[in-house]
């Protein structure tokens, strides 16, 4: 007998919140990037849980896509971070405020 759906959803929500707080409060750009990944995976947990609950494979299909896209995104994102850190000579998001101008 597997645990009920709510547990999975609560777990997913907790994971998402941790990721969100990480994005908001951390200053290191890499940590923020990893927090975003955490939020993505929280979504994946919720999708799989729903797929199981509704007895369909659509959720798991979706997750496979998300993982694929996340891998590509990680490659692009890490590249951007690298370029940015070289350009600005810092990895602190507090310094990256050129949108203001």
């Amino acid at each position: 007998m597997s645990p009920p759906l709510e547990w999975y959803l609560l777990f997913s929500a907790a994971l998402f919140s941790i990721g969100l707080v990480g994005v908001l409060v951390r200053r290191h750009v890499l940590i923020i990037f990893m927090s975003v990944e955490l939020m993505l995976n929280a979504c994946n947990v919720a999708l799989v849980a729903f797929g199981r609950h509704l007895n369909t494979l659509t959720g798991q299909n979706f997750v496979v896509f998300v993982v694929t896209v996340a891998a590509a995104e990680a490659a692009v994102g890490l590249g951007l971070i690298l370029a940015l850190s070289r350009h600005k000579d810092t990895v602190d998001v507090g310094e990256m405020d050129i949108l203001k101008h």
């Binding site: 908001l24 998001v93 990256m96 405020d97 949108l99 203001k100 101008h101």
Partner: protein
């Protein structure tokens, strides 16, 4: 007559256009001759009009429809009757002589071509004014001569006094023209048309009260243009313009437009109740006011300006008595002898390097015999010495007042006539008699060139003979000639026949005696220097009166404090209101937007974290809302 009538105003208009547009590249002689030639053409054709005039029927031509707008139909046309014809003669002849005179007088002036374009422009406007066949055309050219007057008073515009005088003339005239404009509107409202022929034909069908309002408004225009009390203050200042301008515009023609207006609209004035009394009173007050101020002025042109005001007053009280022919007769003779006096004064100034103060003249008779002789004729004509022009016309007005039992008009008019004889004698004595009061070492007075003396002699000749068209009184040529124009006037129905009756001869004798008395007194004071009549002593003895006259009854001071200062204060106040309240509101609006933007701008930190936080909080709020709503 229709074939050439339109050339009369067209010729000076062409001269204006050519001289104004091309004058800079033409030689001075060419511009002067061209302008003079054009006016000569007008004069010739005016004589032709006079000769060919059909006494039985008024020529009323509609040249073209100017404003065809529903019921409001206004054309440009010509209305030629005896009055028009006479005015054409006066305007073109004086204008021609002034043009000829100016060729010499203005020689060497840097604005020569400008002068000879404004002068034909004025002549054109004045001719169109006289030729008008409806009130709107009259009004437009009434304003046009005002503009020309403005341009010519301010001809030497680099002098502050000239440009101020020009503005004063224009603004004072606005006061009168405001009334005139309202009068024209009211004529249209009342009659539904502005054409003379229709309006005059129906004058008697309209309530007398309405006509009183209309005629009083029209008369306001006359008061402004003809410098009648209390709008007389602009004319003496207008002497800032070149002297030929003073002769043509501010003595002979434009200022008589007010007299022409009343005479032209005589059917309206006759049918209106009470207006003619106002006209008579204003005229009488002006005649006395001008003559008394003229007694003490020291500027030769100003004496003549006040003389003009006073003589115009005579014309108006003649109109007020219903003696239209006498008024026009006086206009006719006055045009010649006053133009002569002004041109003579110009000749004196020309010989004295522009000096106008009579206290620095004297003894000029030896230096300028021709100017002296012609001015003497003009002065005697003004003083009313028989048989010169002024005697016939002015004394006819006074005589009429007596015959019509208007004794107070007669008495005051005769008093003014005495003053007139006195001040013109004073002017002549101070200028030409005695010994020179200028520095004979540095100033060498000389007689004026031929082109100027020719005009002087011609006008002198006219001043001698012009009076005979009105002799004998009330039965002369001019009375028979103008009778059809004023067929509704009291003159047409008067019981006395005119001519040399015993009464008329006695009146003539009285008038001549008064004039001679004035002249003798003037000579006694200023030429023979009788010790008992020393002007300095009498000036001290009659100090309050003297001061009042020297300050021209304080009208300038009164108007300055009453109107000029208040309107300046009002203007200043409105300007401050505009600068602070109106502009303040607009600027304040802009500033508040800018300030709001500046405040809001701080929200945009450029830090992605802040934006993300805002998005998250928004999301949480949205979800919470949806969650709790269900």
């Amino acid at each position: 007559m229709e074939a050439y009538l339109w050339i009369i105003p067209l010729a000076p208009l062409i001269a204006f256009l050519v001289n104004f547009l091309l004058g800079r590249r033409m030689t001075d002689a060419a511009t002067g001759l061209f302008a003079t030639g054009s006016v000569a053409v007008s004069l010739l054709l005016s004589v032709l009009v006079f000769v060919q005039l059909d006494p039985e029927h008024v020529l009323n031509i509609e040249l073209y429809s100017w404003i065809p707008s529903g019921a409001f139909q206004v054309g440009v046309g010509a209305y030629v009757d005896q009055l028009t014809s006479l005015m054409l003669l006066v305007v073109t002849s004086v204008s021609l002589l002034v043009h000829v005179y100016s060729i010499g007088y203005m020689r060497g002036d840097s604005g020569y071509y400008r002068f000879f374009s404004y002068l034909p422009l004025f002549t054109f406007s004045m001719l169109m004014l006289v030729l008008s066949n409806n009130f709107l055309q009259l009004y437009v050219f009434w304003e046009a001569v005002g503009v020309c007057s403005y341009l010519l008073i301010g001809f030497w515009y680099t002098r502050a006094s000239a440009s101020n005088a020009a503005m004063k003339a224009f603004i004072v005239n606005r006061v009168g023209d405001f009334g005139f404009g309202l009068g024209v509107v009211l004529i249209f409202v009342t009659f539904g048309t502005l054409a003379y022929a229709d309006v005059f034909a129906r004058a008697e069908d309209v309530a007398a009260g309405t006509l009183t309002v209309i005629t009083l408004l029209l008369f306001m225009g006359s008061m402004g243009k003809s410098a009648q009390w209390p709008l007389h203050t602009w004319l003496p200042d207008a002497m800032e313009g070149p002297t030929p301008v003073s002769a043509l515009i501010h003595a002979a023609t434009m200022v008589t437009a007010g007299v022409y207006l009343v005479a032209r609209a005589n059917p309206l004035f006759e049918a209106a109740a009470g207006t003619l009394t106002v006209v008579a009173v204003v005229g009488l007050v002006t005649a006395l006011l001008g003559a008394t101020i003229g007694l003490v002025q020291n500027d030769i042109k100003r004496v003549m300006a006040y003389s003009t005001i006073s003589q115009l007053g005579y014309m108006f009280f003649a109109l007020g008595m219903g003696a239209y022919v006498s008024a026009i007769f006086h206009l006719f003779t006055h045009a010649f002898f006053k133009a002569l006096l002004f041109l003579g004064a110009g000749s004196v100034m020309h010989g004295l390097n522009g000096e106008t103060d009579m206290r620095r003249m004297g003894g000029l008779r030896r230096y300028m015999p021709q100017t002296f002789a012609t001015l003497l004729i003009g002065s005697l004509a003004l003083a009313g010495v028989p048989p010169l022009a002024g005697f016939w016309s002015k004394d006819e007005i006074l005589g009429l007042a007596f015959i019509e039992h208007q004794y107070w008009i007669y008495g005051l008019g005769t008093l003014a006539s005495f003053f007139t004889a006195f001040y013109i004698t004073r002017l002549m004595a101070l200028t030409f008699l005695g010994s020179p009061r200028f520095d004979t070492e540095t100033i060498h007075p000389h007689e004026s060139p031929r082109s100027m003396t020719v005009s002087l002699w011609t006008l002198a000749g006219l001043s001698v003979v012009a009076g005979f068209v009105g002799a004998p009184p009330e039965a002369g040529f001019i009375h028979r000639f103008l009778a059809p124009v004023f067929e509704h006037g009291p003159e047409a129905t008067a019981e006395h026949a005119g001519g040399f009756t015993t009464e008329v001869l006695l009146l003539m004798l009285t008038a001549t005696t008064v004039s001679v008395l004035g002249i003798v007194l003037g000579l006694a004071v200023y030429a023979w220097r009788t010790p008992a009549l020393d002007p300095a002593v009498w000036g001290r003895r009659l100090r309050p009166v003297y001061n009042m006259l020297v300050h021209k009854y304080y009208y300038d001071e009164l108007y300055d404090s009453l109107f000029v200062r208040t309107s300046r204060a009002l203007g200043g106040g409105l300007w401050r209101f505009d600068a602070r309240v109106v502009d303040g509101a607009v600027n304040g609006m802009a500033r508040s937007v800018s300030d709001t933007g500046g405040t809001m701008r701080r929200l945009q930190t450029g830090l992605v974290g802040n934006y993300a936080l805002a998005i998250s909080l928004g999301l949480v709020a949205l979800v919470a809302y949806l969650f709790f709503q269900v």
